[in-house]
C-alpha cells in the first residue's frame, strides 16, 4: 500500500472498479446479447470474436474517414451483419459443423481486420463522447468513473427489449420454438433456417457494435491487441446468464468488474493477483457449468436444439 489512509485507498479502488466495470462490460454486453439471440434460435456462433475485431477496425476506419463516430458504429454493425449472414448461410448446409464454422469466421474476421487495419493504427479518429453522469460530484474520481458511454445505455435498453421480445411477442415465440425443437417449428410452418439466419445476422450486428465500442470509446484506439478474447468469453457469459438477456446485463457487469479489479487494485499499488482476477470469470463459469450441467432447472432454460447442449 502506498497510501497512508486505508479508507481513501479503498474508495479509489471502489470508484475505479465501478467505472472500470461499466467500461469493460459494454463490449461484453453487446456480444453476449448477440450470442444470446443467436443461441435462442438454436445455433451457436463461436465466431463473434471475429465480428468484434473486424467491427472495431471498420468502426475506427469509418469514423476516421467520415469524421463521425456514430457512422463508424453503424458501419461496424453492418459488417457484423455480413459476417452473421455468411455464418448463418453456411450453417444451413447439411453436414456442416456450426462450432467449426464459428472458429473459421473468427480466423477470417481477425485476419481481415489485421489486413486492412494496418494504416489505421497510427491516426486518431473521432471517438464517441461519453455522458458525464458524475457532474454532480466534486470528486474527480467519481466524475471520471461515471463518464458513461451512450452505447452502455443502448445496450441496457436493448437487453430489456430482447427480454420482452423473446418473452411476449410472436417473433420471440417463433425464435424460442426454433431453438427448442426444429421439428415443432417446422410443423408450425416456420422457416427454421430463415429464423436462424436472421438471428445470427442480428447477433453478428450486435457483436460488431461491441467492437466499435472497443475502438471508439474504451480503450479507444485501433490496434491488433485490442480484444483480449471478449468475443469468445461472451459464449461462456451466455451460459453463465442461462440464456436470459436481463441476466446477460448482470453477467456482463460481473465479468467487467472482474476484469477491472486487477487494474483498479494496481492503481493503489497492489499488483498481486492481476492474472487471477482476469481468469476469475472463466473459473466461475466452468464451476457453474459443472454445477448446472445435470440440473433440471438449467436444462429447461437452455435451448434444446443447441449443439453444445446435446
Amino acid at each position: 500500500m502506498t497510501d497512508a489512509d486505508p479508507i481513501a485507498s479503498l474508495m479509489i479502488v471502489f470508484y475505479a472498479l465501478i467505472g472500470g466495470a461499466i467500461r469493460v462490460s459494454t463490449p461484453f454486453l453487446f456480444v453476449a446479447l448477440g450470442e444470446c439471440l443467436t443461441e435462442k434460435s438454436g445455433r451457436i456462433n463461436l465466431g463473434l470474436e471475429g465480428n468484434l475485431i473486424l467491427g472495431a477496425m471498420i468502426g475506427y476506419a469509418v469514423s476516421y474517414n467520415s469524421g463521425s463516430a456514430w457512422a463508424g458504429v453503424l458501419a461496424a454493425g453492418g459488417v457484423g451483419v455480413v459476417l452473421g449472414v455468411a455464418h448463418g448461410w453456411i450453417c444451413k448446409l447439411p453436414k456442416v459443423n456450426d462450432i467449426a464454422v464459428g472458429l473459421a469466421f473468427m480466423g477470417l474476421g481477425t485476419g481481415l481486420a489485421f489486413f486492412f487495419g494496418k494504416p489505421y493504427i497510427q491516426p486518431s479518429a473521432p471517438r464517441l463522447t461519453s455522458v458525464p453522469l458524475g457532474a454532480w460530484s466534486d470528486s474527480p474520481q467519481v466524475q471520471q468513473a461515471l463518464q458513461v458511454n451512450p452505447l452502455f445505455f443502448i445496450g441496457i435498453i436493448l437487453a430489456v427489449f430482447l427480454w420482452w421480445m423473446l418473452r411476449s411477442t410472436r417473433w420471440g415465440l417463433v425464435i424460442r420454438v426454433t431453438g427448442d425443437s426444429a421439428a415443432s417449428a417446422k410443423a408450425m410452418g416456420v422457416n427454421v433456417d430463415g429464423v436462424r439466419l436472421l438471428a445470427t445476422a442480428a447477433g453478428g450486428c450486435l457483436a460488431g457494435i461491441g467492437g466499435a465500442f472497443l475502438s471508439l470509446s474504451y480503450p479507444g484506439s485501433w490496434n491488433e491487441g485490442l480484444s483480449s478474447g471478449q468475443g469468445l468469453m461472451a459464449v461462456a457469459l451466455v451460459i453463465f446468464a442461462r440464456w436470459n438477456p436481463l441476466r446477460c446485463v448482470l453477467a456482463a457487469l460481473l465479468f467487467g468488474a472482474a476484469g477491472a479489479l486487477g487494474p483498479s487494485l494496481q492503481s493503489i499499488g497492489v499488483s498481486f493477483g492481476y492474472h487471477f482476477f482476469n481468469a476469475a470469470p472463466y473459473i466461475v463459469t466452468l464451476g457453474i457449468m459443472i454445477a448446472s450441467a445435470r440440473s433440471r432447472s438449467a436444462a429447461v432454460e437452455a435451448p434444446r436444439e443447441l449443439s453444445i447442449i446435446k
Binding site: L46, I90, K95, V96, V101, L108, L112, L286
Partner: protein, 353 residues
C-alpha cells in the same frame, strides 16, 4: 473399383484448397496484386531451396502435434479447443521442472526426458479434465476446453510474472533460461529441430492406434454412435478421457519443443496460436493422423513464406491469416459435398424426390 469414400476424402479437400486459392486470387486481384507473384513467392519461401524447406518443416512441427491434438478427440466425437492451453501449460511445466535439474548440472539425457514427460503429463491431465467433465458431469467439452485454455494461460502468466520469474528478464517476464547446453539443436546438421521427428513418430503411432487396434476401433465406434457403444458395453468414459489425454500429451510435446528448441525459457511467446491453427490442420486432414503431416507441412510452408510475401509484395503480415480463414471456411462448406458428388454416386442421383 476404388473405394469411393477414400476418393471423396482426398478429392473434396483438394477441391476446397483449389477453390480457396481461386477466391484468394480474386481477393489479390481486387487489391491490384498479382496472384502469380504470390504463388511464386510461396514456392520460393516454402519449398524451393533447402533453406526454405527447413524453415517450412520447422514451423510444421508444432502444427503436426496440435493437429493431432484436435484430430484424435474428433474421432471419438469430441470438438476440443484445449490444445492451445495444453501447449502453454505443458511448455511451462517443462521449463519449470528443468530449473532444479539444470541447476544440479544433470546431463541432458536425464533433463530432456523429464521435461518432455512433465509437459506430456501436465498437458494430458489438463485436456483429460475436459473429457472427464464431459463423461462424468455432462459438461460440454468444447466450452470447457476453451475455458481451460484461458485458465491455463492466466495461471502460467501469473507464475511467470510471480514465483517463477527470472529476475534478469526485465522487459518480458520469463522463467530462468535453460542455457545453451540444454537447448535441443537441429536434426542431422539441419536447422529443423527434433520436434518434427516427434511429430512424425506420434502421427504414425496414433494412426496405428486409431486404425489398427481394438482401442481405436472402440473409439471410432463411440464417435459414430455413443449409445450403441454404451450398449455394447464399451468403457465409453475411459475411452473419452484417454482420447483427451492423448490430445493433451501431443500438445504438451509441442510445448516442450517450443521451450527446449525455440525459446529456451517460458514466456508469453508460448501462446502463439499453434493450438488454433492445429484445428484447421486437423479439419483439412479429415482427422486422419497420417494426413495431418502433409497438411501441417503445407501450412508451415505458407507461414515460412509469409515474410517474403510481406517484403516483396508490400502486403501486411495478416495476409496469411486471411488465406487461412478463407481455406477454413471453404473447407467447411465442402463438408456438405460428401456423398453428393454426382460422378462418385451415380446410383443416388435419381433416388431423391
Amino acid at each position: 473399383m476404388l473405394n469411393t469414400r477414400v476418393l471423396e476424402s482426398v478429392l473434396i479437400p483438394l477441391g476446397a484448397l483449389l477453390a480457396s486459392a481461386l477466391i484468394f486470387a480474386v481477393f489479390l486481384l481486387a487489391l491490384g496484386k498479382s496472384p502469380v507473384t504470390f504463388l511464386s513467392l510461396v514456392w520460393t519461401g516454402g519449398f524451393s531451396s533447402w533453406f526454405s524447406i527447413q524453415s517450412a518443416l520447422q514451423r510444421a512441427a508444432p502444427l503436426i502435434l496440435t493437429g493431432l491434438a484436435f484430430a484424435i478427440p474428433a474421432r471419438i466425437g469430441l470438438t476440443l479447443l484445449g490444445a492451445e492451453g495444453a501447449v502453454v501449460i505443458g511448455g511451462f511445466a517443462a521449463a519449470a521442472v528443468a530449473i532444479p535439474l539444470v541447476g544440479a548440472g544433470l546431463p541432458t539425457a536425464i533433463v530432456w526426458p523429464v521435461m518432455a514427460l512433465a509437459a506430456m503429463a501436465v498437458g494430458a491431465v489438463w485436456v483429460g479434465l475436459a473429457g472427464w467433465l464431459k463423461h462424468h458431469r455432462g459438461v460440454n467439452e468444447t466450452i470447457s476446453s476453451l475455458l481451460l485454455t484461458y485458465i491455463a494461460i492466466a495461471i502460467v502468466s501469473f507464475l511467470i510474472e510471480g514465483p517463477f520469474r527470472d529476475p534478469g528478464s526485465a522487459n518480458k517476464p520469463s522463467t530462468m533460461p535453460l542455457g545453451s547446453d540444454y537447448r535441443i539443436g537441429g536434426m542431422f546438421d539441419s536447422s529443423v529441430h527434433w520436434g518434427l521427428a516427434a511429430g512424425l513418430l506420434l502421427a504414425a503411432a496414433l494412426w496405428v492406434l486409431m486404425a489398427r487396434t481394438p482401442f481405436g476401433f472402440a473409439a471410432r465406434m463411440t464417435g459414430g454412435n455413443l449409445r450403441a457403444a454404451q450398449g455394447q458395453g464399451l468403457p465409453v468414459g475411459r475411452l473419452l478421457v484417454a482420447c483427451c489425454a492423448i490430445a493433451g500429451a501431443c500438445a504438451g510435446v509441442a510445448g516442450f519443443f517450443e521451450i527446449a528448441a525455440i525459446h529456451g525459457q517460458a514466456n508469453a511467446s508460448l501462446a502463439a496460436g499453434y493450438g488454433f491453427t492445429g484445428i484447421l490442420v486437423a479439419f483439412l486432414a479429415r482427422h486422419n493422423p497420417l494426413a495431418v503431416v502433409p497438411v501441417a507441412i503445407l501450412f508451415g510452408a505458407l507461414d515460412a513464406s509469409g515474410g517474403l510475401v510481406q517484403r516483396r509484395m508490400e502486403m501486411p503480415d495478416a495476409t496469411m491469416l486471411v488465406l487461412q480463414g478463407i481455406i477454413f471456411i471453404v473447407l467447411l462448406v465442402s463438408d456438405t459435398m460428401y456423398g453428393r458428388l454426382p460422378f462418385l454416386n451415380p446410383n443416388r442421383s435419381g433416388a431423391r424426390t
